[in-house]
């Protein structure tokens, strides 16, 4: 049997290692695991007895040499901060996918025993966003690959029941959780690695099975689908947003060819306007004594991008008042009187119809005024209607808890 320095230190600190006759002080220079091999003899442990990796002195020297070539001193390797330093230095140089993969390879070469691999993986998980590999399934697979194979596999039912190597399983679960949070699907490599590392009856494999069961079920349930990669161009985004709001009927129109002297960056200015033929008909029948409102911006979320849209709408009509008009014709005045006294909340409130919608990069009143003027080309009746602008102040939204509504109303001069 090989010598165990821990035992030696306890039992016979004055003697040396019995097998290789090296004094204990020399042993202490080296890292102590549960079992140690110092001498050049090849001492083989049976796998069932002892699982930790072993290496010979020559091997060690060789790997030390290799690490020094790589610029990692043996001292730096010994410290617990190895993984943190690795990532810190690499992220200063340049954080990209290749560097991340390189780091994982470096770690595997530094220590064949993969000592501190849990710390390394946890650190890597923190740095994933920085290295922009969060959406890369390959990076997750490589991280899982850091785990030594076969060591953590439960060999009997008791090990399964009593949570074999719980720390390692927890860290693997953390990787899978991060993968899940980034809306990624594990692939067959993930499955293979997990089975090799933890075996069939383990929490990470169960987690993998759960992801593979639920994710495909809910993948396509969104009735308002969006492209996988959202465009960054605001014009394309506004097109997506307006098409989502008014799916089939509306006609989209992009206005960007006005000559605006004030704005310095005219190329980016746009108004995306949407109006359906039905809305145009309704607008042409709008009574001229009722004013129109331009309101906004209302929020529209396309995944994690917030857009603001403006609507041109009529004022709300009370259903109760309409009923009263009908009743007046065939019922007595006394009954009408009681009806008029009703609480406005009890009468159903009809919302005024929406006549048009728009999105623009700059929601000032001048810009929306321009939009209404452009709308007049298609809707000549609009010129006869008073339009009131009701724009919400955007800056104070966070300060004011109740939406920060500011009623800035001003009459638009009607063109005749």
């Amino acid at each position: 049997m090989g010598t165990c320095t821990r035992l030696l230190q306890r039992l016979a600190p004055w003697r040396g290692c019995q097998l290789c006759q090296v004094s204990i002080q020399q042993h202490r220079h080296h890292q102590i695991y549960s079992q140690r091999i110092i001498c050049g003899k090849a001492v083989q442990f049976s796998r069932k007895l002892h699982y930790s990796a072993y290496y010979y002195q020559e091997d060690k020297r060789e790997s030390d040499q290799m690490q020094e070539d790589r610029g990692i001193s043996a001292e730096a390797k010994r410290t617990l901060t190895l993984s943190r330093n690795l990532f810190k230095e690499a992220s200063e140089k340049g954080a990209d996918k290749e560097t991340f993969y390189q780091l994982i390879e470096t770690f595997a070469e530094v220590d064949k025993r993969k000592r501190g691999h849990l710390q390394f993986i946890e650190t890597a998980l923190r740095y994933m966003k920085h290295f922009r590999v969060e959406k890369d399934i390959d990076a997750y697979n490589r991280l899982l690959d850091v785990f030594p194979k076969g060591v953590f596999v439960a060999r009997n039912i008791w090990q399964v029941i009593f949570n074999h190597f719980p720390e390692q399983q927890t860290v693997a679960l953390k990787i899978l959780q991060k993968l899940e949070d980034n809306k990624l699907m594990p692939n067959s490599d993930t499955k293979r690695i997990l089975l090799e590392v933890f075996g069939r009856q383990s929490h990470p494999v169960k987690k993998y099975q759960r992801i593979m069961y639920w994710f495909p079920k809910f993948r396509n349930i969104n009735p308002f689908p969006l492209p996988y990669e959202l465009p960054t161009d605001p014009i394309q985004l506004s097109e997506l947003g307006l098409k989502r709001i008014c799916e089939y009927e509306a006609e989209l129109k992009f206005i960007s060819d006005w000559c605006d002297m004030q704005s310095e960056d005219a190329s980016k200015d746009f108004i995306a306007s949407a109006q359906s033929p039905e809305q145009r008909d309704l607008l042409s029948q709008h009574p001229p004594y009722r004013s129109l409102y331009v309101e906004g911006p209302f929020n529209l979320w396309l995944r994690d991008i917030k857009l603001g849209y403006y609507i041109l709408r009529s004022d709300p009509i009370y259903l109760g008042s309409l009923e009263d008009d009908d009743l007046e014709e065939d019922e007595d005045e006394e009954d009408n009187f009681s009806l008029h006294q009703t609480d406005p909340y009890k009468g159903d409130l009809l919302e005024g119809p929406v006549y048009a919608m728009c999105m623009t990069n700059n929601g000032t009143q001048e810009r929306l005024n321009l939009w209404v003027k452009k709308l007049q080309e298609d809707n000549p009746h609009l010129a006869r209607l008073p339009v009131i602008f009701n724009l919400f102040k955007k800056e104070n939204v966070e300060e004011k808890k109740d939406g920060g509504l500011m009623e800035g109303t001003k009459l638009l001069e009607t063109d005749s």
Binding site: P223, I245, C246, R303, I311, Y345, E351
Partner: protein, 278 residues
Amino acid sequence: MFMMSLLPRRLLCSRQPFCLMSRILPGGCINKCYVVQRSYSSDESQSFYGSFRKNLQLMKEEFVTKLKSPNLDTMFDRSRILWQYTGPESLKDFKLITDKDIGGGSTAELAISRNNKLLFQGNLNTDIPRDGQTVRSGYCALRTLNKYGSFNRKLQMDLTPFNMLHLRIKGDGRAYMVNIYTHSYFSLTHDDVWSYFMFTRGGPYWQTVNIPFAKFFLSSKGRVQDKQSPVDLERVTAFGLTMADAINGEFTLELDSISASYDATETEEFVYEEYRQS
């Protein structure tokens, strides 16, 4: 059993007609069916015998209402409105839960919208509270209050005649979650929630979301369960909405009504596999 629930002094007395129940009954009987909410503040000073008498009175009224069967004409309906906005007092039907409870930074509030409907709005913040334990944060939830009958009995809804849930909403494009809470006998299953996703279109138009009850999946303490089972529609106690889509920012949801109906084209009892656990 009744005496057991009597022991605490906090007994109910306020006689507010309860919206969820009153919808089940035709309009004329609303005032006859006294279903009350458990109240802690105003009735602390109530004497034991006073509240006992009141509860007896309540129970008598419940029995009389049942015997008179005022809902005979509606009990075979194909649809039922479970909640509807009827005025500012409808805001009191809901309880608001945010991640402030665990130290998070989300805010939410209930208000009356510009269209005179219930407005559930707020700001979702996924910043993790720095307590060293919490790993994820960011939720705002809405939940109808539990309803209590006489002697603090929790009341349950029987929705077995129906198989679809309808919500009339106006959203902002974000995804929400619809939750159904049921009464469960064992404390092990107290945290069981059946939920399904609700996607909003956004925009100024109203949207009706129809979800079959068969699609609701079981989760407990935020984790989807391996062993699934359909909702126990006989014992539904509450409904809820959750906003937790992990996107920082404002959200706005207008809610008009929640209703259930029977759709003969929906034949599935439960859409997920009910595996036997090996």
